[in-house]
């Protein structure tokens, strides 16, 4: 039996094509995935991401605990309302999950974790809590829904759909969040566009969804979410990294804070040896579409596509690939697409941000 979000009936009522994703029944698209993709890049779209799980970490010492279990340093969240993207690593330095951590108050933090890793994360966090900070409360918030409103006009359309949110969220900078009217509104996302992620009580989700739709926010499915995040050069857990690789081999070195003076789980393993592999972007020069797990060849050796697909904004195929450490942007690469070795170029992601293509072809 697949799990359903509080918006399941709304998606079905709109004729969404529903698919299984990480044990959840989710909308893939509502007609045309490419159309939904363009709506987000050019105007505003919304995603039901209620399959993701908010986990609240409450109590004295919450910050110290999170500084131990997360690879980025929550000391950077010096005030309530700030957010940080980070990996959670195991002792081997490999990636248990990637998540956003929000500081809601000095004794209250919120992690938003991937649906597919939520159960594993919960067990891991409880084990570390019992070991490091037994008095802390870990509260999985399945009572909440999450709607991501993304695109250049996402914020203004959110305010016109929910005028009460405007005052509280107008001044939010990127990676900041504010609690207002029983909701948490964060200026974050997974598309490379401006916008909000709104965490709210499940019962309120259908009403907000309909209000946003009335203001012209286009419902968008997991299909568009995947092409948007790939263009934005954002990793997908389970595809671009998992428990077999570390963040330094996954294009996520920028999220690992190795400054001396703080120990975190996985740090010793990361410091032990330099990364032999790295994650790079690929742009296909020949015609075709790159897909996950296809073979990659270059002067530095062999590699593999981790995420590949068609970029609607660039109108060509793009990918993320794990390749030997020596590869540089601009290098010639070959990708084995359905039995043919096609030409590609290594690039530094992101491919697209804020509606603009950043990679010259």
């Amino acid at each position: 039996m697949l799990k359903q979000t509080p918006l399941n009936a709304v998606h079905r009522g709109m004729g969404a094509k529903m698919v299984e994703f990480a044990g959840w029944e989710m909308p893939l698209h509502y007609g045309s995935q490419i159309e939904e993709h363009h709506r987000v890049r050019r105007d505003a779209g919304m995603f039901d991401v209620s399959h993701m799980l908010a986990v609240d970490v409450c109590g004295q010492g919450a910050r110290a605990f999170l500084r131990r279990v997360l690879a980025n340093d929550v000391a950077k969240l010096e005030a309530a309302g700030k957010a940080l993207y980070t990996c959670m690593l195991n002792e081997a330095g490999c990636v248990l999950d990637d998540l956003i951590v929000y500081c809601l108050a000095e004794d209250r933090f919120r992690l938003v974790v991937n649906a597919g890793a939520a159960e594993k994360d919960g067990a891991w966090l409880r084990r570390q809590r019992d070991r490091l900070a037994p008095a802390l409360l870990l509260e999985p918030r399945r009572d909440l829904a999450i709607i991501a409103v993304q695109g250049p006009r996402a914020r203004e359309k959110t305010w016109s759909a929910a005028p009460a949110l405007r005052t509280a969220t107008e001044a939010l900078a990127h990676f900041q969040a504010e609690e207002a009217g029983g909701m948490m509104v964060a200026r974050t996302g997974y598309t490379g566009e401006d916008g909000f992620e709104i965490v709210l009580p499940a019962g309120g989700a259908p009403g907000l969804w309909r209000a946003l739709q009335e203001k012209g926010v286009a419902p968008a499915g997991l299909g568009a979410r995947d092409t948007l995040r790939l263009e934005a050069g954002m990793n997908l857990y389970g595809q671009d990294m998992d428990e077999t690789v570390n963040p330094l081999e996954s294009g996520l070195a920028w999220t690992v804070d190795l400054k001396p003076g703080r120990d975190f789980i996985g740090k010793a393993a990361l410091e032990e040896k330099p990364a032999a592999r790295q994650l790079v972007g690929l742009v296909l020069l020949d015609k075709g579409v790159m897909r996950g797990h296809q073979n990659v060849l270059c002067a530095a050796g062999a590699g593999e596509i981790t995420s590949g697909g068609f970029s609607p904004t660039m109108n060509r195929s793009i990918a993320l690939a794990r390749v030997p450490a020596g590869v540089r942007p601009g290098d010639d690469m070959k990708v084995e697409v359905r039995g043919h070795w096609l030409r590609a170029k290594a690039v530094k992601p992101p491919f697209v941000r804020n509606g603009k293509v950043l990679i010259p072809i």
Binding site: L28, Q33, I34, G223, K287, F310, S317
Partner: protein, 129 residues
Amino acid sequence: MTTPDDLKYTKSHEWVRQEADGTVTVGITFHAQEQLGDVVFIQNPEVGRRVRQGEECAVIESVKAAADIYAPVSGEVIAASQEVVDKPERVNQDPYAAWLFRIKPGDRSELGGLLDAAAYRELAESEKR
């Protein structure tokens, strides 16, 4: 009309139209394009290529997956559509107008083995369940 009555069909979701000049025109069905999602790339066979019934002769890539297109009958490829190569989305918009290629059949008896609209409708329905 998602399965026109005047066409023949294959189990691999191609439609086949018998032309007055004895050639056949081939495309993919409404059901096939719906399953694939937005089509973004088409590789057509070269004109002049000889194909056997059931042989892979074109590739359709959608946002979701790649799909092989099989020759519904043996024969020679006498035309390949440039329109769908330039505008792959035409296959989603109008799958029965957006043909892929034409074949001059070598063995016309193979046409008799193709599915009629009723049989194909049943196949498509059974796949949706």
